[in-house]
């Protein structure tokens, strides 16, 4: 899984490589900012060179236009790989993975809480920005606070006059999520990420999927222990909560397949077909 670590580091650095900000002290607003990275990265981060797709969706809602480009772009990525971007390149996901390494007992969210993401997507990203003409999710986003809100306030004294009650509210939201990160794995991804909600819609119909050899699975819960979002993969391999990190594929009973190839065969089917079965674990 070193490959995932490398892609997560790249996903954190490449969209944040505007180092000229040290001289300019203003955010990059060149042509690259017209492109949305398929990950959660704040547009207003001093180092950001690309846009946040959620910020863009809110902007379109606020101006009352349909975001064709973002819908098509995110849809194609979701259709191809589901939520894989969450598990492999998202900087906020990576940040939460790092905090989860702190050795404190972790709890599991009930799976129904995963539906909160859709509520936040619809209410804070579409409806409220449309009605108020303001990007309300951005104003409250905890990752935006880490990447942009706090750095700008500390670095550029001109921004301090812009601090309002909303700034303290977003700080409180950040502190709340930081606390949750200590006792839950990836709480933001599970409960609140609107981008994850969009990609999650495609998990069940994406071209790349997970499959479990149910007949030979012993339900030992190894997949549950490995999973950063605490899913029992044998119960629902393509759950909308799955971030497709593929850690569960360390178990030989779980595998990745594409709808264009054959679904992984059960142990009995392999024996019937005359295949030699090689156990990975």
């Amino acid at each position: 899984m070193k490959t995932r670590l490398i892609t997560q580091i790249a996903g954190s650095i490449l969209p944040n490589s505007y180092f000229q900000v040290i001289a300019t002290k203003t955010i990059y607003q060149g042509r690259l900012k017209g492109i949305c990275a398929p990950l959660f990265n704040c547009y207003a981060c001093p180092l950001a060179v690309v846009s946040c797709p959620i910020g863009t969706l809110q902007h379109f809602s606020a101006i009352g236009k349909i975001p064709y480009y973002v819908i098509g772009y995110l849809g194609i990525i979701g259709l191809a790989v589901g939520r894989m971007a969450c598990g492999w390149i998202c900087p906020f996901g990576f940040f939460q993975d790092l905090i989860a390494k702190i050795k404190i007992r972790k709890f599991r969210f009930p799976s129904y809480l995963g539906y909160m993401r859709y509520f936040i997507l619809v209410i804070l990203v579409f409806i409220i920005p449309f009605l108020t003409h303001e990007p309300w999710f951005t104003k409250l986003c905890p990752w935006g606070t880490i990447e942009a809100g706090i750095p700008w306030i500390l670095w550029n004294s001109n921004f301090r006059s812009l601090i309002s009650n909303i700034y303290y509210l977003k700080l409180a939201i950040l502190v709340g999520f930081l606390g949750l990160m200590l006792i839950f794995k990836r709480p933001f991804c599970f409960l609140a990420c609107p981008l994850g909600a969009i990609f999650a819609l495609f998990n069940k119909i994406s071209i790349i999927r997970l499959g479990v050899d149910i007949e030979s699975c012993t339900r030992c819960d190894r997949c549950l222990r490995d999973c950063p979002v605490n899913i029992r993969v044998y119960e629902n391999p393509n759950s909308h909560n799955c971030i497709r990190c593929l850690k569960c594929t360390r178990c030989s009973k779980v595998s990745v397949y594409s709808i264009f190839s054959k679904k992984p065969m059960s142990h009995e089917e392999e024996l019937e077909a005359g295949y030699q079965v090689n156990s990975k674990s």
Partner: protein
């Protein structure tokens, strides 16, 4: 089983075509430049 798999492929390909058309339409319309808003984070 084979029919079910073919359905999945047909649905995926159809969705892919529709989403690509939406993406291309968005690019032609100039959505790239509409995304250049001021990041209002404070």
């Amino acid at each position: 089983m084979k029919i079910k798999k073919n359905y999945k492929i047909i649905i995926s390909v159809a969705l892919f075509v529709v989403l690509t058309a939406i993406l291309v339409y968005g690019i032609i319309k100039g959505d790239f430049f509409t995304t250049l808003f001021n990041g209002r984070t404070l």
